[in-house]
Assembly symmetry: C2
Homo-oligomer: 196 residues x 2
Amino acid sequence: MTRKEQKEMRQKQIIFKSLELFVSKGFSETKVSDIAEALGISVGLLFHYYESKEALYKDLVEMGVQSTKRLEAIKFNDPMEYFLKTTEELFNAAEGQPWVFQMFVLMSQARRCGIPEKIRQLALSVDQVEFSAEIIRHGQENGTIKDGDPMALSFAFWCSIQGVMEQHFITPDIPLPKAEWITDILKKHNRRDDLK
Amino acid sequence: MTRKEQKEMRQKQIIFKSLELFVSKGFSETKVSDIAEALGISVGLLFHYYESKEALYKDLVEMGVQSTKRLEAIKFNDPMEYFLKTTEELFNAAEGQPWVFQMFVLMSQARRCGIPEKIRQLALSVDQVEFSAEIIRHGQENGTIKDGDPMALSFAFWCSIQGVMEQHFITPDIPLPKAEWITDILKKHNRRDDLK
DNA sequence: TATTATACTGAATATAAATTCAATGAACTA
DNA sequence: TAGTTCATTGAATTTATATTCAGTATAATA
């Protein structure tokens, strides 16, 4: 194997394994020795590739920023379609490529206190809530999304996605919800309260 | 002040302040010195009251187990009423008595890896998802709750609550959702797809 | 009031985990 | 092939933090 190949392979190994560990155990709870052990390499080698545990984590958050931005680029005709597509895409990804949604969980983790402030700010720099609130406003105008503070609705939607993603990581045996269940948080249902 | 009073007051101080810190920063990220400093007492005194950081955390989780059980005791006539009442209660509590919902967040934290295994098991011993799935089954029978795997629906509901609670702790400025938005995840809406 | 118990402190110790480093061997380069 | 670079290791070092401890002050008790 050539040097270049070897290096790239190691970097990928390290990135993906540490993502997995950071997401399941958290930043502080994950020891560099855990990562090294999980990869079957020495701790020293980790420091050959990353100058510090923090730098490794920062690289991951930067990856997360990128993939979050990609979420915002999803094309859609109707607001509700955006949320349905996004949710489906995330839930599907959760099955096939674990890293897509691990990323999602990581980003939320990184926004909390207890994370080195610089990295935290980086993670806070992308924010779906505000972005989606704008789309929700359109949906309210064309009558497909229920009334209410768009920020609060957006918040409710994303928190739910977040909650599902995180919990799914902990208990992967419980089946994921259908995307429509979650988007029902936003959807305007034509009233027929008389039934009640 | 009498010795007894003094002791009780200190214990309360320690419990509530450490709950606050553990919830916002996580178990490992919270140093015992952080807690001591936040209370304006010496580190030594903390160890006078609790034999270890772990024991302190365990006490909190035990409190959490109690309050979770209290949630399960809520009286209701109709399944949807249970979920609406529960959600409203939680969201209201989130305003007045922060500890109620801090507890909620703590319990989820405690269920993750990275927490001493014994404590983790304690936190896992109460589980709203299974409990609520049963209620959902009733709701499906009487036609008020949408069709689908009751476990998955219950999971979706509780994960959403979880997500909202956690995020609200981080960004308390964003208004909390209306309880009905969240319960719409479960509610059976009479179809009128022709509109679409 | 004298004695005892205990709330409390700050510094000392132990420990675990991040980081550094000197040494080894395998791939490149001339 | 000889020399250079770099991936790799394992042990040494540093640092951060939990825990312990010897001593002080304040409330209870006789």
